[in-house]
């Protein structure tokens, strides 16, 4: 099985789906001739032509608006938002149009659209190239929100997203694009949207994370394993709809839960996980549910020391695990 990095897996998924289904096309800023600023679409323009890999104007509203319209006409658009930080001009299209279409047309019309959006900080991108806006979308019934954390999942989940009849926001951990490597089968497979994945089994503390933070959580679990702390790591993968059962099962086993995300704490996705645990596994808790999240400041700072202060890393996760294990 070939090993590849996460962005290569994303590219392969799109390539395979475009080859499999003529209705699939890509639209976004610099996705065509340039191959995307993160090189996610390299080679696809040459392979599928300018009608299926479309360079858009710098107008996210129109990228998503075009996607919705095309989807209603039966196409399978894959919209790329260059940085998830730029998604807000399209917010109305996503939340008020794409998410509600199926419901308001009583199931007659659906929007089978994927919006790919590289997210996350730690890459020296400052305020406008580092954001993690997933919580704005996990509050929106009618959307699916997916965040892969491995090349295998990235390919399988993206293929599932393209085939899904609903609008899917596909957040890709850009810091992990080249950092995270893994084996990816060459054949056609999907990873279903919905189920979380227990990526490490343990008995002392459950760590819930997704995307880059899941990658770090595994490293942190490795660190503390040497100290005798047996950590269970759950990769949530799909944030909406959330896999409550896997979350609760894990907490029932360990009694202690740590939720990690790099988006800021208040109103973040971790609150949903914590509430799920409090409602569904209260009598299994042996410690307060702990959230380790980005601080409540307006952006990821550009200054490197401040960026390091903001960002969650494996050491910070390990420290939080130790604290919880000791409790």
């Amino acid at each position: 099985m070939p090993e590849m990095n996460l962005v290569e897996a994303v590219r392969q998924a799109m390539d395979e789906e475009m080859g499999r289904d003529e209705r699939v096309f890509i639209v976004g800023e610099d996705v065509g001739k340039r191959g995307g600023v993160f090189r996610a679409t390299v080679g696809l323009y040459d392979k599928y032509g300018s009608e299926r890999v479309i360079d858009s104007p710098l107008a996210e509203l129109s990228i998503v608006g075009v996607g919705i319209g095309a989807a209603l006409y039966g196409m399978r658009p894959v919209c790329e938002i260059q940085f998830s930080d730029f998604i807000y001009p399209a917010f109305n299209q996503i939340v008020s149009e794409a998410a509600k279409m199926c419901y308001r047309s009583n199931g007659e019309w659906t929007v089978p659209m994927v919006i790919r959006a590289p997210y996350g900080g730690g890459i020296g991108g400052g305020l406008y190239h580092s954001q993690s806006p997933e919580a704005y979308f996990t509050h929106t019934p009618g959307l699916k929100v997916v965040v892969p954390s491995s090349p295998y999942d990235a390919k399988g989940l993206l293929k599932a997203a393209i085939r899904d009849p609903n609008p899917v926001i596909f957040f890709e951990p850009k810091k992990g694009y080249r950092l995270i490597r893994g084996e990816v089968p060459e054949d056609d497979y999907i990873v279903p949207i919905g189920p979380a994945n227990v990526t490490r089994s343990g008995t002392d503390v459950s760590v819930f994370a997704y995307g880059m933070m899941h990658f770090y959580a595994l490293q942190a679990a490795e660190k503390v394993a040497a100290e005798g702390i047996d950590v269970e790591v759950v990769d949530l993968r799909t944030l909406y709809p959330v896999d409550r059962q896997t979350i609760l099962q894990s907490v029932r086993k360990t009694g202690k839960a740590l939720v990690v995300h790099e988006a800021n704490l208040t109103g973040g996705y971790g609150a949903e996980v914590a509430a799920t645990i409090a409602e569904g596994a209260f009598t299994d808790l042996d410690a307060p549910v702990r959230r380790l999240c980005g601080p409540d400041v307006p952006g990821v700072p550009f200054s490197h020391p401040l960026q390091d202060w903001f960002m969650i890393n494996p050491d910070k996760i390990a420290a939080a695990i130790r604290e919880l294990a000791r409790w």
């Binding site: 009694g255 209260f282 009598t283 299994d284 808790l285 042996d286 410690a287 000791r326 409790w327």
Partner: protein
């Protein structure tokens, strides 16, 4: 409900007693406080009064037999009432009165859990304890601060499955641990509204109670009338109780009272309040009392000391604790460290800060430790003077009453209206005698009255 008669602990180091004579026999009527039996301990014979009115239902310890303090030796109740059958041998002492109706094992264990401060019981620990009928007071906690974790309960269950656990020694069999007078669960036995005290057919072994060396050595009877409520003891309440009783039992408290004319302090405060406020500091009278105390401690260093069996420990630093009320919850004593190094402004600022953080529960543990002398400003509640309990092992505590305008006779035999305050020094007579105590308090007065 029948009442137990317990072998009392007739002295601090006395852990057993011999029944020399029963003054009432089974079936005889007795009134509360009427002499019920005679007990001999070491050298002394004592008459033991009945804890309740009623009929002697059952005598469990015959004359001549010696039993440990805390042992149930008889039952008092109404004629025909059923009582437990246990003998005083072994751990029968801790058997609880039987309430034949409302038998519920889980409640029994839950009640036993209140015998000591178990720390926070997490939801999963509570559930496991209920489901598996675990007496949490028998589970050793390994979590932070000794908290009982889920793992601790699981380990206990695994161990319990392997072997019937040996009976724990009764509290009074482990010196220095536990309430030496009567097992705590007996105090709580007929508490808690859904009152099934025990359902175990067999007398249960006593749970080990937490060290409470200073709990009052008198029987705490708790008649619960309809409408009464039992407030569980908080950690703070318990800590205060232990500290207060330890102090009262150990230090030889003597209180001396003086009064001070606060005219000059009031004038100084009025003149400087605005200036201090500009520096962000609220200038309170407390700052002056601390400053005066510092001066007096320097003048009479013996007051800044602690008792130890090896000798008097004269403290090099002057660290002044200030009692701060937390309402019904209790009180806390943050410490101004090296108070002698602070100006009036510095003192006022530190007091503001400590008081504010005491109220908002944000004091650090080391900020409430290491005091060498304590001031309690009980006057804030209107109290004129009081005899506070020494913050043991410190030597003394200054009580500050309310500042009140009074007609006083001043020089020239004139009567004047002056803001007066009563100051008390309560000191440990083992360390100080009256002369030194008065010298200290006199210095405090002198500094306040001569404030410039």
């Amino acid at each position: 409900m029948p009442t137990q008669v317990i072998m009392p602990q007739l002295g601090e180091s006395v852990v057993e007693g011999t029944v020399t004579k029963w003054l009432k026999q089974e079936g005889e009527r007795i009134e509360e406080f009427e002499a019920l039996l005679e007990v001999n301990t070491d050298k002394v014979d004592s008459e033991i009064p009945s804890p309740a009115s009623g009929v002697v239902l059952k005598i469990l310890v015959p004359e001549g037999q010696t039993v440990r303090a805390g042992t149930v030796i008889a039952w008092i109740g109404q004629p025909g009432e059923h009582v437990g059958d246990e003998t005083p041998a072994g751990h029968g002492a801790t058997a609880q009165p039987v309430a034949p109706a409302a038998a519920n094992p889980s409640v029994a264990s839950a009640q036993a859990g209140r015998d000591r401060d178990l720390g926070f019981i997490s939801p999963v620990v509570a559930r496991l304890a209920r489901e598996q009928n675990v007496d949490l007071s028998q589970v050793k906690g390994t979590g932070e601060g000794g908290r009982i974790t889920k793992k601790d309960v699981l380990a206990y269950l695994a161990q319990r499955e392997q072997a019937t656990p040996a009976a724990e020694p009764a509290a009074w069999e482990t010196p220095g641990e536990g309430d030496l007078f009567r097992p705590t669960e007996l105090m709580f036995a007929n508490a808690a509204p859904p009152a099934p005290a025990s359902a175990s057919p067999v007398p249960t072994p006593s749970p080990v109670v937490a060290p409470q060396p200073a709990t009052p050595a008198a029987p705490v009877s708790r008649p619960m009338a309809a409408g009464d409520r039992l407030l569980p003891l908080t950690t703070m309440r318990r800590a205060i109780a232990e500290r207060m009783v330890l102090s009262k039992r150990t230090a030889a408290h003597v209180t001396t009272v003086m009064e001070a004319d606060m005219s000059r302090v009031s004038a100084h405060r009025a003149a400087h309040k605005a200036e201090f406020a500009q520096a962000g500091v609220n200038l309170t009278f407390t700052a002056y009392f601390v400053a005066a105390t510092v001066a007096a401690l320097k003048a009479v260093p013996l007051v800044n000391s602690s008792w130890s069996d090896e000798g008097l420990v004269l403290h090099g630093g002057i660290h002044i604790g200030l009692a701060a009320s937390l309402g019904d919850e209790g009180l806390i004593v943050p410490v101004i460290r090296n108070a002698d190094g602070l100006s009036l402004l510095g003192l006022a600022r530190t007091i503001n800060d400590l008081a504010e953080r005491a109220r908002s529960r944000r004091l650090q543990p080391d900020e409430v430790q290491g005091g060498t002398f304590t001031i309690t400003n009980h006057g804030v509640g209107g109290s004129l003077f009081a005899s506070p309990v020494i913050n043991y092992p410190q030597c003394g505590i200054l009580g500050v009453g309310t500042i009140k305008k009074r007609a006083v006779v001043v020089e020239g035999d004139a009567i004047a209206v002056r803001p007066m305050v009563y100051l008390t020094l309560t000191f440990d007579h083992r360390i100080l005698d009256g002369a030194s105590g008065d010298a200290f308090l006199g210095k405090v007065v002198q500094v306040l009255e001569g404030w410039a």
